[in-house]
């Protein structure tokens, strides 16, 4: 059974019956099992699921970093499936932003240069007003000339957030953005992400396994065994935790059942 999750609003990114299969024969692993999702514009969506549920794969395919075995991916109206490397690069320049668990800042550049890097690679200038807004929002004004090695983890991740925001992409994909942060810095980053959705209408898709982090999102999609199994709107941490527990139980019983069978 495939659950298709839809809402009526404008769609920033969507996956249509996406399959992702690794290897072949005995070693074949099906990471995505006919997933269809639509991610609305101006929403903060979290993708959750146990390890191996396919949540990271789904995000990578949505971002155009990984190809799909079958199905289609759209960002806005653009169909990613079958695009050349050059076109994908163009798409990443203009429509996608990334935030990684490992921050991934260039150690040779200052915070400011790191923030402006995607724009300068594309040969574009930042909108000065928007740039100022972003800098103030992330609260890095006095740290702009510092190099990553002189910043704390939380500050580095805020630089990474600013880097993703500054080009005003269609979607920002955040892969466990708080995974490497203590809870206070994590909370800072998450509220900052939520604010940019609320105040500036930015679309953000975040993969996480932390129910607390997911509670900052507007909507949580649950994946298990490469399929979308459930979702929650305006979740609380407890609600998310309950759902996850239920999922784990389901997965365990399914595993037991398959062993018994």
């Amino acid at each position: 059974m495939t659950t298709t999750v839809t809402t009526g609003q404008a769609v920033a990114a969507r996956a249509v019956d996406v399959w992702k299969v690794y290897g072949s024969g005995e070693a074949q692993v099906i990471a995505l099992h006919g997933v269809s999702v639509e991610l609305e514009r101006g929403q903060f969506t979290a993708i959750m699921g146990p390890s191996g549920s396919g949540k990271s794969t789904l995000m990578h395919t949505l971002a155009g970093l990984d190809s799909v075995t079958r199905g289609e991916i759209f960002i806005g109206d653009t169909r990613l499936t079958g695009m050349s490397d050059g076109d994908l690069t163009n798409l990443r320049r203009t429509k996608v932003g990334f935030i990684f668990q490992q921050f991934n800042l260039l150690p040779t550049l200052t915070a400011e240069e790191n923030i402006l890097l995607p724009l300068s690679i594309a040969g574009r200038k930042a909108d000065p007003k928007w740039y100022e807004t972003v800098i103030d929002t992330v609260g890095l004004r006095d740290r702009l000339k510092h190099r990553p090695s002189q910043l704390s983890g939380g500050q580095q991740q805020r630089v990474a957030c600013a880097r993703a925001l500054v080009s005003r992409p269609e979607v920002i994909f955040a892969d466990e953005p708080t995974g490497n942060l203590d809870s206070r810095s994590g909370a800072e980053v998450l509220s900052f992400l939520r604010n940019s959705v609320r105040e500036y209408g930015q679309t953000i898709v975040m993969v996480t396994h932390d129910p607390n982090a997911a509670s900052y999102a507007d909507r949580v999609i649950f994946l298990a065994d490469g399929q979308v199994v459930d979702e929650l709107l305006a979740p609380s941490a407890d609600a998310v935790l309950d759902k996850l527990k239920g999922l784990d139980a389901k997965v365990e019983s399914a595993a037991d059942a398959s062993q018994a069978g």
Binding site: L65, T89, R92, R93, N104, L106, L117, I121, S149
Partner: protein, 852 residues
Amino acid sequence: MLRATLKSLLSRKLRLVLSGLAVVLGVMFVSGAFVLTDTMGRSFDSLFSSVYQGIDVNVTQKPKVGGDQDVGPSQQGNIPAATLDKVRAVPGVASVTGDATADGARVIGKNGKVVTTFGPPRLGGNWVGTSDLLQLREGRAPAADNEIVVNVTTAKSAGGLKVGDDVGVLTLQPGKKVFKLVGIFGYSGDRDSLGGSLEVLFTTPVAQELMLGEKDVYSGINVTAAAGVTNEKLRDDVAAALGGEAGGFQVKTGKQLTDETTKSFREGLAFFNNVLIGFAGVALFVGTFLILNTFSIIVAQRTRELALMRALGGSRGQTLGSVIIEAVAIGLIASVLGLAAGVGVGVLLAWVFGNVSGVALASVGVPAAAVISAFVVGLLVTVVAAVLPALRASRIPPIAALQEVATPDRPLTKLTVSGALIGAAGGTMLGLGLAGQGDNTLWLILGGVLVSFIGVALLTPLLARPVVSLLGRLFSWSVPGKLGRLNSGRNPRRTAITAAALMVGLALITGVNVILASAKQSLSSQASTQVTVDLIISGDGDDNGPAKFDPAVMDAAAKLPGVSSAASEYWDFAQVDGNGTGISATPDMAAYASMFKLTATEGTLQWTGPDQAVIDTENAKKRNLTLGSTMTMQFTRGEPHQVKIVGLYQRSDVMGGTIVSGDVVKDYRSAQPSWGYLRVSDGASVDAIQKQVDQLLVDNPEVSVANRAEYVDAQSAQFDQLLVMIQVLLALAILIAVLGIVNTLALSVLERTRELGLLRAIGMRRAQTMRMVTVEAVVISTFGALLGLAVGTGLGAAVVRALKDDGFTKLAFPWSQMATYLLLAALVGVIAAVLPSIRASRVNVLQAISHD
């Protein structure tokens, strides 16, 4: 532990190949040199053993000049024909043949040019009939005085001479002689010549007159022994009959002759071998930088692995051992490959040499020296280069490495101080060597250069930061360019060593270039200020000295309307007060002195009688000679001359030494001038006279007439050839340096996989990624080139300064050449970046960013 090391080694094959390649190339050069000289040595052995085949005992007159190492080839004294009868009367002699042969019979080819060789002599001799060795291939023996035979090689080299052709031959007597070719001969074993020698055989009287300069004399007597008489006994008997040592004869067995000739060729080969090994040394020195760098990077990448080993109980010694084992393994493999490649190169070069020279090659062998040097050099260089990084690795505290605490960039103070000290030591050695005299000078200079290089290499990291950031500004107009620049400044040590490798080769080339450019500039400035010659007649020479021409030409040229003054110069080897030296003579000292602006400080600069000489004041002082002193001069022929000094002059940059009066040239090997100097009167056209002199030289194809500028250019052309040769030989060092850049980039790309992934993820195109890596390479290579140019200019200038008194009056910098090197270095950077940048652009984004 050993197994863990070997496994880790095998898992990094690319790294193995790159660091091994430098060793392979260096070892290839060393062992190739040994194989080449060994093969050539044995080829000459077998060649000379057959040259003297059929000669049991040989008699020659003791040479009057030379025959020792400090003078050129010896010219045997002439043996009177009567001596043949004396030898024939010795009991045990079966047959006696008089040989009238000398080097210097030059055949004029079909194209009107003199046939030349790459070293083998051009012999003119007398026909004594066919033998087991010498076979007539076509035609018949020479019977009349206008008939000659030549060997097959001569006929071929002259453009296909045929029996019946009229052939022009230049001999030791003035003027071109024309002969009818009646036969072509070769040697047993289907050989066209003996060792590529060109041979012209005349009838005996003609050979005696043209090649020996006298009637009824021989250059040597070949004797065969009767049955039952040993060669050694016959030799002693013949020597006794001729009056022993006191008789002035040298009597040797054929075997002795073979051994002596072989020995002198072997010495020549040994020198050649040393030159090749010197260049191999440079290549290996550069290779050491590459290996050092590779191992530093390898160790840096393996820090965690090594730390884990230590955490699990490995000792420091074991950590050190594991890196050294890796070095030994690479060294061994590279030595084997280098040896194999060296044998190939040696054989190839020997084959080329054999084809060019016509020497039949001996079978190829691999001498023990090649094998031993290959392994010693290969292993030593690799292990030495690996020890430093290994020591560093063993000092890393295991926990620091496991936690992947970025090793902080250690301060460069220690490195800088030691670099400055070593550099100063090298500079001092170089200075002492250049200033000093004696046997150790060369070693001091070479050692000084080497130590200076090491010093500069140690200082390079300090220079790297400012210079690289300055250089990088050139590329900072684009984001990839800027990132590339930042990357190249990231690890100053690594950038520095990579650039230093390129520095060594370029510094040597630039140094030589500065010296040669200064020589050229000095030459042309001297030619314009210290010489008042308008036209110069001269030609290239061979082992026997510069080319010569008919003195009649000078007489005719002096009489041309518009020629105001003429002087000729003769040249030959001579013994002066027992010392071998080359000596010049001129018939008209006054004209000669005015051509070279020489003025007398004592006495007079003109001849008032025979056997007179002038000498410069410096040489006179050195040899304790004053006005009126006499020198004993023995020329190639005749009795010693007592030459009296009639004048002293101040030496100039172009002219110094002893000049002897023209009457002595009748005892020269060939009484023909080597240089003719003409001055044109004001108002006359130099061009027109040059054309007329050209006409006069029509029968003297070995020389030509040039105006002053042309002459200076022709002399400079020799420097250019030398430069090309040195560039070719140092190209290997440069190639290894390029491999170093490739290696550094490849490993940097590997290290920065995650960054590359990120850049691609946030929108960097493949082409931009490639540009980023290329800029890094170009920055490194131009940095190395700048260093090399700076160091080379310094070295060259130092040498030129030191040689100030030897005619290097001007210091010149070959700016355009240097600019070319810089551009080439940038190009080299681009080429070196090709593979690493492709690799960087192919980074799988997903794997790169999820890679821990």
